[in-house]
């Protein structure tokens, strides 16, 4: 009780409240700008935490984290470009909705789903953090491999028009991620004696080039023709009835996000894809996925914001960061003299409570911040298209370069942009390529680790009940069209008999 009181008094401090509001708003803006992501936003704020107090530092970082993960959805919906890698799956249904003239509703759903996911995950975190951390520990390489394989099935989901081309794009994505150092032997692969290639292809330059730059090329090429649709509609919250109808989707996606957040090293980008794959498997509207179906948008956005809270579980209770962003936050906490780890929950209860409460506040700020700011972003889209596209090019270049200060990343952006344009021109969907690229390292590394641990035998993978369960779900998902076809045939033949 004392701990709760002192946590509340930390929360009520004006500098902490100011920090969380400012952090959330700045986070939304940075997240919405393609190329600038959560990691950059948090890194920029890191020096500030040296001068701010403990409470304000934590509030600032949490605000930025939540805001930036949500912000990525704005550009995903409005300009077909995920502002951050975490929103890659949001593009799939968000942009088609906007094209249909429902940009306002799409923003409303994204905001609602993000806030819901974040808040639900915070509640779960507050109640069950140490327990979740223990469950998370049960996930070793074998289980990670099974999870990655399941996530890969969403390639099928997103390539509805042409499965063969979708699979080809997915394989290409898996392959591009192979460039660089072999994760087990350290050998260099496909570096062509170029030093910069030996460090591999960065996610941000690749993603930004593939989506943002190719979109610019696409619109430039289209200008002589029909031109882009005019997107204009104000922010619209989904009605209560709609909310009730899709509540189970919100709930499930948030739970998936929370749970994946607790697994160190998987991250929000994969989480939103896993959630999308599961939504596609189970949603009543599964046939409409990829054409602007709110369920798809909800699956991605609720999950990626639930990850922000979920990722705090291993960070706080194990002292192991859940993703690169929480790694920076862990660093900031350590500098403040806090030692995350199993004993934090006993020794420093008021700080833990404060973090939970602050996450709650940050998610509420995020909701209202989104409400306030998305009209602003919609208005930006009414800029003359050449101006808007030129601005995107500048942002993309400046943003990508600012991450590592490496000119090579700019070359990657350009090549990925040209590649993305050519793929689109030939009718290949881009999303499977990103899915392959994001999941490739996790799948490869965990498969090979698992084989090392089982002395080269794949049978050992089935000794893990968790992995076997995931393999089974994957197999069912893949065989579903066959099975349902079979069932239909059996069913229809039996009705004929009657």
């Amino acid at each position: 009780m004392d701990a709760l009181l002192s946590a509340l008094s930390m929360l009520a401090a004006p500098d902490a409240l100011l920090a969380v509001v400012a952090g959330t708003l700045v986070g939304i803006i940075i997240g919405a700008l393609p190329g600038l992501g959560s990691l950059l936003a948090i890194t920029m704020a890191l020096p500030l935490t040296f001068v701010l107090g403990q409470g304000a530092s934590v509030a600032l970082l949490l605000g930025i984290y939540c805001g930036s993960v949500y912000g990525g959805s704005l550009s995903a919906i409005l300009i077909n470009t995920p502002g951050t890698p975490q929103s890659a799956a949001t593009v799939l249904d968000g942009y088609p909705m906007a094209r249909r003239g429902e940009a306002g509703l799409a923003l409303g759903w994204a905001t609602t789903a993000s806030a819901f996911g974040g808040i639900l995950a915070t509640v779960i975190l507050a109640v069950a953090s140490p327990l979740l951390a223990r469950i998370g520990l049960k996930f070793g390489p074998v289980e990670y491999f099974a999870l990655g394989l399941f996530a890969l099935t969403c390639i099928i989901t997103v390539s509805r028009d042409n499965l063969v081309k979708g699979l080809m794009a997915g394989l290409l994505g898996l392959f591009v991620a192979v460039v660089g150092q072999d994760p087990v032997t350290g050998y260099l692969r496909y570096d062509f004696n170029v030093f910069d290639l030996s460090a591999g292809i960065g996610l941000v330059p690749f993603l930004v080039g593939l989506f943002a730059l190719s979109e610019v090329f696409w619109r430039a090429a289209e200008r002589s023709g029909g031109g882009a649709p005019v997107i204009r509609s104000a922010f619209r919250c989904p009605s209560l009835g709609e909310l009730r109808r899709r509540f189970s989707m919100l709930l499930k996606s948030s739970l998936i996000g929370t749970w994946i957040g607790t697994l160190p090293g998987v991250g929000a980008s994969s989480a939103s894809m896993i959630s999308y794959a599961e939504a596609k498997r189970s949603s009543r509207n599964r046939d409409k996925f990829g054409t602007g179906e709110p369920d798809g948008l909800i699956a991605s956005e609720a999950a990626n914001n639930a990850v922000t809270s979920g990722a705090m579980v291993p960070t706080l209770s194990l002292g192991v960061p859940g993703d690169p962003i929480t790694a920076v936050m862990l660093g900031a906490l350590v500098l403040q003299g806090v030692t995350p780890g199993p004993r934090l929950f006993l020794d420093n209860q008021e700080l833990v409570l404060f973090i939970f409460l602050m996450l709650f506040v940050a998610n509420i700020c995020m909701f209202f911040g989104g409400w306030l700011m998305s009209p602003l972003f919609s208005r930006i889209l009414r800029l003359p298209e050449p101006l808007l596209m030129a601005a995107v090019v500048v942002l993309v270049a400046a943003g990508t370069y600012s991450i590592n200060g490496n000119p090579f990343d700019l070359l990657v952006v350009l090549l990925a942009g040209i590649g993305g344009f050519l793929l689109r021109y030939n009718g290949f969907p881009l999303a499977p390529m990103v899915i392959g690229f994001v999941l490739s390292p996790m799948i490869e590394q965990s498969l090979r680790q698992g084989l090392l641990m089982n002395r080269g035998s794949f049978l050992g993978f089935f000794a893990s009940p968790i992995a076997s369960g995931l393999f089974l779900i994957t197999a069912l998902f893949l065989l579903w069209p066959l099975l349902s076809g079979l069932r239909r045939r059996l069913f229809s033949s039996s009705t004929v008999k009657e």
């Binding site: 500030l48 087990v184 350290g186 004696n193 790694a327 030692t339 590394q445 680790q449 090392l452 641990m453």
Partner: protein, 325 residues
């Protein structure tokens, strides 16, 4: 503080353009008025990690001693080699220095074709050090190093050890230990210490080379510390030497500059680093990330890196390029 950060980001975006013109404009460094402008300190790892935190703390301390601002510039990627390459290519005028973990500077050139090697730098000082401890998974029956070795000898290849990646310092150190003890333990590399330690805590792997504070903070157990003497943080833990295995292993790092910095500027930087290592703030920060402030002069640090490079170069050729684990 906000404005400086923004400025850094902004100026970085312009850097691409500026780089091509810079060599023409920059006047030669005159040691008499050194330092007359801010010094850039390249950290070859992302913000927030232990190398970055140590790097930021030493940048502050150096700045105070030198009376100039020392700005941290994170250039991550390629196991630290991207940042080291940028440093090696920088102008040797004393206005660009970098944090060099021993593993990054000594091992990476043997792993792939880096545009630098251990000889490409002027060594300024070592400022941090920490001995490795061999941690075992929760519930493990191993109490001593001998238990581990005996089991590994009886069941070759059955035990597994995790590392933050192939060719990293802990990987080569354990390979070295395996040779010394004549034991066969399987290497399972992870993408960094985070996933690796989680796998140890979850009992998916058996052993991990970690810093002493990793063990104390996370209630893990260790079977040996690889230092000359027992350490204060874990007073009951015996050294490998005490247990009959004559080997030490540690992580360490210091400051380096591109080769060819004028001698007087170099002396000034080395002297500043020695005083910075005594700074209380640096000691506190290092302590929090599990490192000790430990100074070595330019010569001694260079010798340490070069000898590590030589030993590990051989190990990398045998272990990684020979195809074994």
């Amino acid at each position: 503080m906000t404005t400086t950060t923004r400025k850094t980001t902004f100026s970085r975006s312009l850097l691409g353009l500026a780089l091509s013109v810079l060599p023409l404009l920059a006047a030669p460094a005159w040691a008499a008025d050194y330092p007359s402008r801010p010094i850039t300190e390249i950290v070859p790892y992302p913000a927030g990690g232990s190398t970055d935190l140590a790097g930021r703390a030493v940048a502050n301390a150096m700045g105070e001693v030198l009376g100039a601002k020392v700005v941290v510039d994170n250039r991550s990627g390629g196991g630290g080699s991207v940042g080291m390459a940028a440093l090696a290519r920088a102008r040797a005028d004393g206005y660009t220095i970098g944090v060099a973990p021993v593993g990054t500077i000594a091992n990476q050139p043997h792993m792939h074709r880096t545009p630098y090697n251990a000889e490409s730098f002027d060594y300024l000082c070592q400022f941090y050090y920490a001995p490795q401890v061999l941690a075992v998974k929760p519930g493990s029956e191993f109490k001593t190093l001998k238990d581990v070795v005996d089991y590994a000898k009886a069941h070759p290849g059955e035990l597994t050890y995790g590392t933050p990646g192939p060719g990293t310092l802990p990987h080569l150190q354990i390979e070295q230990f395996k040779r010394l003890a004549g034991a066969d333990i399987t290497h399972v590399p992870f993408a960094g210490d985070g996933p690796g330690l989680t796998a140890l805590m979850g009992g998916h792997i058996d052993l991990y080379f970690a810093l002493p504070n990793t063990v104390t903070d996370r209630d893990l157990r260790a079977v040996a510390v690889f230092s000359e003497e027992p350490i204060a943080a874990l007073p009951d833990l015996k050294t490998a030497i005490q247990q009959g295995y004559d080997m030490t292993a540690a992580v360490a790092g210091g400051l380096v500059a591109p080769k060819g910095v004028p001698q007087d500027v170099r002396d000034q930087l080395a002297a500043a680093c020695e005083r910075a290592t005594e700074s209380e703030e640096l000691n506190t920060v290092l302590g929090r990330v599990g490192l000790d402030a430990a100074y070595l002069g330019p010569r001694a640090f260079q010798d340490l890196v070069l000898s590590t490079s030589e030993t590990n170069g051989e190990l990398i050729r045998d272990v990684l390029k020979g195809g074994g684990h």
